[in-house]
Amino acid sequence: MKTDVAVIGTGLSALAAARTVQQAGRQVVLVWPGLSSLYFLFATIDVIGYPTATATESVADPAEAVARLITREPSHPYARAGMDAVHAGTRLMLEWFKEAGLAWQGALNRNFLLPTATGTPKPCCLAPASMTAGDLSRPEPIVFCGFTGYQDFAPELAASNLKRQWGAADVSAIRVTAPGYGPDRLFTSVDLARSFEDATFRDAVAAQLREHVSGDGARVGVPGVLGLTRPGETFAAFQEAVGHPVFEIPTVPPSVIALRLFDRLRKHLQEAGIEIIWAAPAHAAQVTDERCRSVLLKAAGHEFPVEAASYVVALEDWVDGAFRAGVHTVRDPFFHEPITWNKVPTDRTAESLFSTQPFEQVGYALTDRLQPADENGKPLARNVFCAGGAMAGYDPSGTKSRGGMAIATGYRAAREALAA
């Protein structure tokens, strides 16, 4: 198999890189080692939510905050990707979402502030349209609505926390019954999402909401389960039936909001004839004369090479399982380089779970062109470029910047790959 660019990874950075190559009119193959956190965890694209990992004041203008970060920290992944890539990558993705029929909203010069399932406000830059009515810059009262027996969204918890943090208006909690579901039945968000595509089910839920929510312009926050394969029409029909603005709140894995995005983009690429190789972990890069000639994949029972003029390695830190952490050494699946070495495994962690973690920062050292580099800064191969979580040196959890960095670096790595 031969192609212009092979993109290896499943996350947002891999998708951004693939789309970049596709838009440039060149041939791309996507190799997915395993499912990423995008698939089951995330819901919004966070460009930068807080200026630092410990700041409590959220960022109002992400573009400006990223520009400042770039000046302050010249080796930050955002700095390596460059401000142009932040803008171009974001534009590319928003256009893609639109073309793929995904209704998303947001722009680089402002953050939404959306309540999470714990009721904590969280800044994010781009979000599905079905979430944005929850924006806390708007003053309308909020009614959180959960379902009897559904454990992954607790309106009482969310209301209590938001009430304390957000003084602008009333916050309250109700629970309604989802027909056929209850405390004595095992079900997940995905089951509910399927049921919401059924008009009778939807209307039965909406009728209860109409009854409980008074007509004073309140908006209703529900768990992110409003449809799986036809979310747009499901959401519109439900909102109409409720008679109030409705917004979704993402829940624990499986996050339906993440599933929708991922599945739609995947199908859209496939519809455009782009080849995706599933569940085939890469396990070696063949490098001669400083160039990667092929990447060997392992699929059920056999091994086969993917040959490309250049490669984008868009792995996640850990969730997709591409990096292997031994007791002391972490190795990558291509060059088998020791990415890090730890005397004791505890050194990979911070004392508190809720602080910046060394293990989240594990990844390739990079050249200015985003090539994985050895310890002297020399590229491991001239035609391999790196994006997303596989880059060393940052933990986006505290600043809430995983999505933005994935897109900017995915875009930039793909541009480099096209030029290589």
């Binding site: 714990t118 904590t120 918890l157 009430k163 943090q165 003084g167 095992l186 894995p253 779970l353």
Partner: protein, 549 residues
């Protein structure tokens, strides 16, 4: 916290204190148990979980071995729901082990431990994971797995049903006395720092490794040496039965299977204080290496966490140190020894022999109280519906798993998928005033003890703290975060492979999807979004879950 009074105050909520409370209650003596942490949060919940057949002690400590044999048989009768009847093997690996064999066989014979030598083929047929290095195998059917959490909770609940009271997260900080007579204890709520007194006629000090510290509050001496041991939990069960090295007791020489996991252990090092429990990497590494000498799969299995506990070794005054000291226990009648009426200490022992220890110390205390009712704990089961542990848990009918074509009820929801804990298993504990944080719920239900280490169930539990217990969001979120942090502390020591990968899901979920890190930070600063004079309660509630009193 109001002052109160009772007949006997039991200090310590480990296996010993729980056994004492139940024994007193069965003899009709009014009693209150006071525990500074939670039930089984001391050594008992940090032990290895082996129901000792006695095989480990039969060469060096015959008395201890005989006690284990007898108590093991009793527990299988009265506490079946806490025992998994796995049986055990003693295996030889090295030449030195080989030389120990005749002494082991002779020790078993002398102490009445059933022991049968198996051919290697037969042993491998039964335990395919036995390593190639194993040369000799003895089958010891009376080894087992004892769930220390269930055991303590089972004893305490049995006593509570008969009128006993229990105060968790309450520390004894001093004694009330009238000359040489003890008249009560001063207590302090560990979460709110409120103080009060309990008047009583008698106090039993069952604080294990802390018993010297507690006795010192009264100015008397009890010599215990805190000896630390570290264990590693693997997410898979590698063997059906407990695997012991057949040699002089040493480090890392037992692998205990418990339900779905295997626990490797343990080490032995004197520490300065029972709460000084650092886990060293070298200990973790050694547990894995030693375990791998007996069982295949130890190095490749997923390590979930490491934990450590301190043995309350009673210093008989001998020169012996660490493992050479006796596992036996001592009852100290301070009236006889120190001239203080109404104070008795019980030190040493094992979880396996908790019942016997309780019987002995209550015999002494009851005699001073003039109570002649004999002990009945060897006959009266912990609860009416005693079923073996392995049948009680993971039983498909409990979960309503439907038959292919039957009219069985639909699948029941789970609160903790890893450990198959249902919402109704958790619900009663959330109403119990003795349960004051999510760790307390974990010890009673196993929620959060599976591979994901509470990543998912912590939110569901926090939700229930609000809906079932009426907590505000700030306290519930704080309880969720504290629970995750406590789980995190044990995971950090085995941070590689799948467990590392899993933890990125935890941080992704709690920091990026829920933004819990900011929730915690904001609890310590005024709400940034609050308008003038609005915005509900400001500032953080105390971390404590229940404001019960």
């Amino acid at each position: 916290m109001p002052d109160t009074s009772t007949g006997v105050v039991v200090i310590g909520g480990g296996s010993t204190g729980a056994g004492v409370l139940r024994d007193l209650t069965l003899r009709g003596i009014e009693a209150v148990l006071v525990e500074k942490g939670d039930l089984a949060s001391g050594t008992t919940g940090r032990s290895h979980g082996l129901l000792h057949s006695g095989g480990r002690y039969c060469v060096n400590d015959e008395q201890a071995a005989i006690e284990c044999v007898e108590e093991g048989r009793i527990l299988r009768r009265i506490a079946r729901s806490t025992v998994e009847d796995t049986g055990g093997y003693f295996v030889s690996v090295t030449e030195e082990d080989h030389e120990w064999e005749p002494r082991f066989v002779e020790g078993c014979r002398r102490t009445g431990i059933t022991c049968e030598r198996l051919s290697l083929d037969e042993a491998r047929r039964r335990e395919p994971a036995l390593s190639r290095q194993v040369r000799t195998v003895f089958w010891v059917p009376e080894d087992g797995h004892l769930d220390p959490f269930y055991l303590v909770v089972g004893n305490v609940e049995s006593a509570r049903r008969r009128g006993a009271r229990v105060m968790t997260h309450t520390e004894v900080i001093g004694f009330l006395r009238d000359g040489d007579r003890l008249t009560g204890v001063r207590i302090k709520d560990s979460k709110t720092n409120e103080e009060a007194s309990i008047a009583c006629q008698s106090v039993i000090n069952a604080t294990g490794a802390w018993s010297g510290l507690v006795a010192r509050l009264l100015g008397v001496e009890v010599k215990v040496v805190p000896v630390k041991g570290t264990m590693v939990v693997l997410s898979r069960r590698l063997a059906h039965a407990a695997i012991n090295r057949c040699h002089k007791p040493g480090d890392g020489d037992i692998v205990v299977p418990g339900l779905s996991v295997s626990i490797l252990g343990t080490t032995s090092a004197k520490v300065a204080h029972p709460e000084t429990l650092p886990i060293e990497w070298d200990e973790v590494r050694r547990m894995i290496e030693e375990g791998a000498m007996m069982l295949d799969g130890v190095t490749t299995a997923r390590a979930m966490r490491a934990y450590a506990g301190v043995r309350p070794l009673y210093d008989l005054g001998a020169e012996a140190e660490g493992r050479e000291m006796s596992r036996n226990f001592a009852v100290i009648d301070h009236q006889v020894r120190d001239g203080i009426t109404g104070f008795t200490s019980i030190v040493g022992g094992k979880v396996t022999t908790y019942r016997l220890m309780a019987e002995r110390v209550v015999d002494v205390a009851a005699r001073h109280l003039g109570v002649r009712t004999p002990c009945t704990t060897a006959e009266v089961p912990l609860n009416d519906r005693e079923e073996p542990l392995d049948q009680l848990r993971h039983r498909p009918s409990l979960l309503g798993v439907p038959k292919p074509h039957g009219d069985e009820p639909p699948l029941q929801p789970l609160l903790c998928e890893c450990e198959l804990v249902r919402p109704q298993d958790v619900a009663p504990w959330l109403k119990d005033p003795a349960v004051r944080d999510l760790e307390d719920v974990r010890r009673r239900t196993r929620s959060g003890m599976g591979p994901c280490q509470a990543a998912i169930c912590s939110y569901r539990l926090a939700a229930r703290l609000v809906s079932d217990r009426g907590l505000d969001g700030a306290s519930a979120t704080r309880a969720m975060a504290d629970f995750l942090e406590t789980r995190w502390r044990g995971v950090r020591h085995v941070f590689w492979g799948s467990q590392l990968r899993n933890m990125q899901v935890t941080t992704g979920l709690h920091m990026e999807l829920y933004n819990v890190d900011r929730e915690l930070m904001l609890q310590h600063s005024p709400p940034p979004l609050a308008g003038e004079g609005q915005g509900g309660g400001r500032g953080a509630e105390p971390a404590e879950v229940g404001a019960q009193r």
